[in-house]
Each structure stands twice: as C-alpha cells, then as structure tokens.
Symmetry: C2
Subunit: 286 residues, 2 copies
C-alpha cells in the first residue's frame, strides 16, 4: 500500500472522529481547512518509512503515530500563522485559517489538533501507545520541543543551533523515533537520522525564504529578514548555507542504522533532498 494512501487514511480517520456527533460546524470546518489538502507530508512519510524499515509489525499503530505527527505539525502552522506571530495570509496556496475563518477559530483549531494528535496515540496498541505519547510530548512541548523553539523567538539572546533543533528539528527526530517505537524497536539508533533530516530541512527552508518568491512557494517569503529572525542564510550566506545542506544530507544517509529497509530509507532521504533542490540546483559550485 503506498505510504500516501496510508497517511491520508489515518489523517481522515482522525478528522472524522473529531467531527463526529454534532460538533460546532465552523470549528470542524477549520480543522479540515488546516489539514486537508496537505503539503508534502514529509514528517509522516519519514515516520512510516522508519516503521517499515523496522518490520512494520503493527501497521495500525504506525499509521496513528504518523497521523499524530502530521496533526501536531498542522497545529503548529496554524498558530505560527496567527497575527501575533507571522501574520501570514497564505499557507499551502490558500488562505490561512485565521483569514479564512477567524482568529478565535484559528487558536481553537490549533489547540484541537494538538489534542487530536494525542487522542490518536491513545488508540495505539497499549504497550506502544504510552511511549509514543511521551515522545510526541517531549519533542513538541517544553523544554526542548517545537513550542520551546518558537519561544526562543521571544528572547534577545539566542543560539542558532539550539533554536533550529527545537523549532524544526524536534519534530523530525520525533518522526524517526516514533516510527521505530510504533514497530516495536528501540528509538535510540534512529535519533540522528531524524535530527539530520530536520537540520537539512531548516537550512533548505531558510534558503527558500531568502531566494524564492511567494508565487513559487505559495506562502509569503522574506519573512526571516522581515521579522529579523535568526537564519542559516543570515549567518552563513547563501553559498555557505548550500554547502551546509549538502553536508547534512550526506550525514543523514550515513547515519541510517543497518536494517532490512536500509536501502529504501536512503532512497527516501534522497527523495526528500530532491524536494529541496530548487535552491540546490542553483549553487554556483555546480
């Protein structure tokens, strides 16, 4: 079964449960708007790929873990787009939730999606569900998850590596580790792969923000410079950031633990790298 089908089915199942009974219609609609149609679903793809590499002996749990990661990622996008943060009008080529609905409904949609992510994990096989809850909380909350990463933007003194590791890297690390746990494996050997993919993704995102147009990406660009946010491009320049991205991706592939699905996973990382190539291909070194 293609990963995309599994991921969308798991997400649709979660949304159907959140919209069951007779819930408030506009908030229900706002949840759909925030989650469907998705972006590249990179995080759940990584999570399911690791679960498959680990034998995928419990597909229901692996699907729920993947859905949980994507739901909480969507929640973070909805809250990041709010007027008090990026004040973004466009996300994934359509209006952001607060523009399409309202600011109250965007706050509530984010909250509901965070809770829905944990609710999905509560439906996992019992012995694996609670460790998955612990992982998701660890990599999304305080002190080191994506909330902490966003929190660093309110500080005067900020370490770029710490900031990126929490804001962007944490959920990629959660993805590889949760994929392993969902398949009954030790998550530790999978930590580095997630961290490196996350690092690559952040550098690529900084490069996109600095070089692409809103027309090309479907969201407002130049936000880092506009909001005076720390970025790899600001620190290393464009050529330096491109070299950094190449190094990180090589390291990611090298870090994949020996396992039956090793070649498939390396292909997945290479495919993720290709997604980051709009900038990659324009490096003067090539």
């Amino acid at each position: 079964m293609p990963l995309t089908f599994r991921i969308e089915s798991a997400i649709d199942g979660a949304l159907a449960r959140a919209g069951g009974g007779a819930p408030p219609p506009r908030l229900t609609s706002a949840l759909h708007h925030a989650v469907k149609p998705g972006g590249a679903r990179i995080r759940p793809t990584i999570s399911l790929s690791v679960a498959l590499a680990c034998g995928d002996d419990d597909p229901g749990t692996a699907d729920r873990a993947a859905a949980a990661i994507e739901l909480i990622h969507c929640a973070s996008l909805v809250h990041d787009d709010l007027p008090c943060f990026d004040d973004a009008a466009i996300r994934r080529g359509k209006l952001t939730v607060h523009r399409a609905y309202s600011e109250p409904l965007a706050v509530l949609a984010g909250d509901s999606l965070i809770i829905l992510a944990f609710e999905e994990l509560s439906r996992a096989t019992p012995a694996r569900g609670l460790p998955l809850v612990a992982e998701l909380a660890r990599f999304t909350g305080m002190p080191h998850g994506i909330c902490a990463g966003q929190g660093w933007e309110s500080e005067d003194e900020i370490d770029l590596a710490t900031y990126h590791r929490a804001k962007t890297g944490a959920l990629f690390t959660a993805a590889t580790r949760m994929g392993a746990i969902a398949a009954g494996h030790d998550p530790e050997p999978w930590t580095e792969l997630g961290a490196r993919i996350g690092e690559a993704f952040q550098v690529a995102d900084d490069l996109l923000d600095a070089t692409q147009t809103e027309m090309q990406t479907g969201k407002p660009m130049g936000q880092d410079a506009l909001h005076d946010r720390p970025s790899a491009v600001g620190q290393l320049g464009i050529p330096g950031a491109i070299r950094r991205l190449e190094d990180i991706l090589s390291g990611a592939i090298a870090s994949i633990p020996a396992c039956p699905g090793e070649a498939m996973l390396a292909a997945m990382v290479r495919k993720t790298a290709e997604r980051l190539t709009p900038v990659h291909h324009r490096t003067p070194a090539e």
Copy 2:
C-alpha cells in the same frame, strides 16, 4: 497528606520538568505565571477526592492525573484571555499572561501546558496511562470537549446545554472519571457526579458574572452580557438560575456511587457548593 499539598507538588514537578535543561527563559516564566499561584484547584481536588474514594492504590498516577487536569485548565484560561477572545487584563488578581508577557508567549504557554498535561500522563503507571490520555483528550478536544465548547461561541445557532456541557462541564466530568481510572476503577459510575458539579459551577459562574464586581472576583465581570454570550442568567433570570444551582447540587450529592469514601465525597461537594455561595446567600427565598 492534605490534597492541596499533593496537588501543588504534582504541578510543581510538572513545571520543573518543563523548565529543565536550558529552555527559553521568558516562556518558562510565562508557564509559571499561568499556573502559580493557582485558583481554588477545584478540578484536581475533585479528581483526587474520587481517587481516594476508590481506594487510591496508585497515588503517583492519581497525582499525575490531577496535575494534568489542572494544567490543561490553566491552558484554557490563558487562551480564553487572549485579545481575540475575552481580551482580559486580569486573571486570579494579577495580569493575564499576554499582558504580563506578550501575545506570542501566551499562545505558546497555552500550547505548552496542553502538551505538558499529556506528558504528565505518559509518566503514569502504563496500564492506566493510556486510558487517562484518551479521557483527557476526549473531554478537552473536539467534538465534545472544552475546545468544542469554546468553538460554539463562533456559531449563530447554539444550544445552551450543549455549549455548557462542553465548555465547562467536560473538564469536571474528566476529573471524576480520571480519578476513578487512576485508582483502577471503572469510570462510568462517576460520570454523572462530574457532569453535575460542572453544571453547578457554570450556573454559579454565570451568576457571579452577572452580579459581582471585578474587585470581589479579581477578574473582569459582565463579560457574558458584553460579549452577548449565552448564559443561565440570561435565559432564566437571577432567581431562576439560583433555584437551578440548588437543584443541581442536590442531584450531584445523590449521584455519588456507593463506596467507602462516599461521605467524604459528599462533604467535598458541599464544600464546593459553599464556594459558590456569594450569590447563593443573597437569594430572596432565604
């Protein structure tokens, strides 16, 4: 050990974990501001009281359940106070989180506290942890939890009972049910007690909002009328709402399941009722 001590210790433990390592200092401080010092801690008191009535054979799990409920309650207050909802300046006699820190930090503090609540449950005894996660999610998210309740405020057509049951009642129902689960008991017989306490609390809150001053309560009053929100006072008038409150509390005490701690629990409900008496004592019928 007094319940208050257990509750505050459990909350302090959670906050210490959220503030461990080297997290962003202002967000860490905002979490403390949102949670300490607390209000009456009514929800965790109910939860622990039910756990005790059920034998309290796993105090660590009961404490984590109580802390989780209070943390998510505090999260809901922080988000409810935001400019796009109540735009409140004062909560529990001090500045609200967005006024004391900033709007971004208030959004993040709420998100972090939601996640921290689930993280606390991930530390419960494994066999009880996952059912507790399911309960907390069910009564806080969509379609019937406190997020849904708040979501009804964005609808033109609204059923008052459905709205109150979700917005305020849900977390009281979670409190009694989670107390039972934490002590290894079936939650079903405890549902009605939580629902009735929640109903009483909502009617009392509507009465306070309609009749008290900001000086007496430490938060802005008259918000229901100001925001044109549905309320028991608006629907029944003040005398009608007071009669309703008395009926509900009698029903709550009558609903307590036969158990060794039955008398203690009835006393707890009566004490909760006394907390609601500023209005109760001024009824013309007395």
